[in-house]
Symmetry: C2
Subunit: 245 residues, 2 copies
């Protein structure tokens, strides 16, 4: 196992940081490393908002559901899918541009995620800790207003970065067995692997909580599939020009 | 610059490979490294189909627009956003599950992309070359049938992996200046940075083609925003249970 793969397998979401600040040049280097990721047809359909204003950091921490570390970590980034830059660049050449295609939403969201994952891993390779903030999508319209995001740009997720408080480093969370994820030639049922994983997650939660947490992977998923999880996303995207045509 | 960041900044899409095959244990290690990536609420909403059947490899090469290296590279993977596994797991606990939310499409697509980018970089850290295949979405229904993908699973992109033919390694393609991508506190216009990048891309294409290719970044984007780019994606996703409600 080489050091890069080792780094990937030791990822955990860090939410407790020291007061040390990340040098500006390091931050730029992380973004440049992010830009090295593959991008669909070279479109580079992303922008990153570096939120430094303390009031805005506190406001975003609230809007994301009370995640204080957004306000206190060294640096907070909002990764945005950006179809404004490329569509306008194309338009300036005289091209006839159609916006709002479902495919464009996918291209921009995937481009943004590939780029962000490089940033995350680059940060970890420099000894930093990170935490993705999907809670950005709890209130995407308010956050878009705060960051003055124009049409055809939407915030996909945030990321907290900082030097981890090594005395409070969370454990690496187990993952589904590789046999459930990797399938040969065709999709196959993985109910048995999921059942085995549920058992190991139940032991994991019990051990970590001193017997107080009695749950497993399958039970933990319920809030995600409840109708209440971000039902505003469709209208929000449409309103920002991602009409999913 | 540490070796992990160096690796990110030297990424290129490799389409020419030697005949050497990737050991099975290495492939499993790459997938496990992929699984180390952050996942929204631990949902792990992805499956990877390892396509080994030569007839299917050739058929996918055609369906993706005549990309022969899909058939000839050592290993070909199709990364799928998978909402079947977690929604059914949740349902088995007795939960009332709503499918087809726009948010679920985003969660699964982003989860898949984060995971895949780890796989890509893990492969490169082992001396392999990779190429993402967005052309999977040229004919997603036919490819889903071929791989027997059930409802609530869709193929986001493919990935070719193999040992690069080092005598035909493509150059690292330039990226937009970091000043265009990283914005302080609010979205700002980057027309000037794009114009400068267009100039440098024009020189890059001219040099590489011995003066024959006269284009730039903005002109190259036109096919992406033409109405003809994958207008079937919306209906395809709806038909597979991703209704974008």
């Amino acid at each position: 196992m080489n050091p890069t793969i080792e780094l990937m397998k030791s990822h955990r979401s860090v939410r407790q940081f020291t007061d040390q600040r990340i040098p500006r040049e390091t931050l730029l280097e992380l973004i440049r490393a992010g830009q090295g990721a593959a991008t669909s047809s070279h479109v580079q359909a992303y922008s990153v908002i570096h939120v430094t204003n303390p009031t805005n950091r506190e406001r975003i921490a609230e809007l994301a559901g009370g995640q204080d570390y957004i306000a206190t970590c060294s640096d907070f980034l909002v990764f945005c899918a950006d179809m404004k830059r490329p569509t306008e660049a194309s338009e300036r050449t005289g091209a006839s541009v159609t916006r709002g295609m479902t495919e464009q939403l996918l291209v921009a969201s995937v481009d943004t995620a590939l780029m962000a994952q490089n940033v995350a891993l680059a940060a970890e390779s420099e000894g930093l800790g990170i935490c993705y903030i999907g809670g950005i999508r709890n209130n995407p319209a308010a956050i878009s207003d705060l960051l003055r995001l124009p049409a055809h740009v939407y915030p996909v997720f945030g990321m907290c970065l900082g030097y981890p408080d090594k005395e409070n480093l969370p454990e690496v969370k187990p993952r589904l067995p590789v046999e459930a994820i990797l399938k040969e030639d065709a999709y196959t049922d993985d109910t048995e692997e999921v059942a085995a994983f549920d058992e190991s997650m139940r032991r994991y939660y019990s051990q970590r909580s001193g017997g107080r947490k009695n749950s497993d992977w399958s039970h933990n998923l319920t809030p995600l599939f409840d109708t209440k999880l971000r039902p505003h996303m469709r209208d929000f995207l449409v309103e920002r020009g991602f009409e999913m045509k």
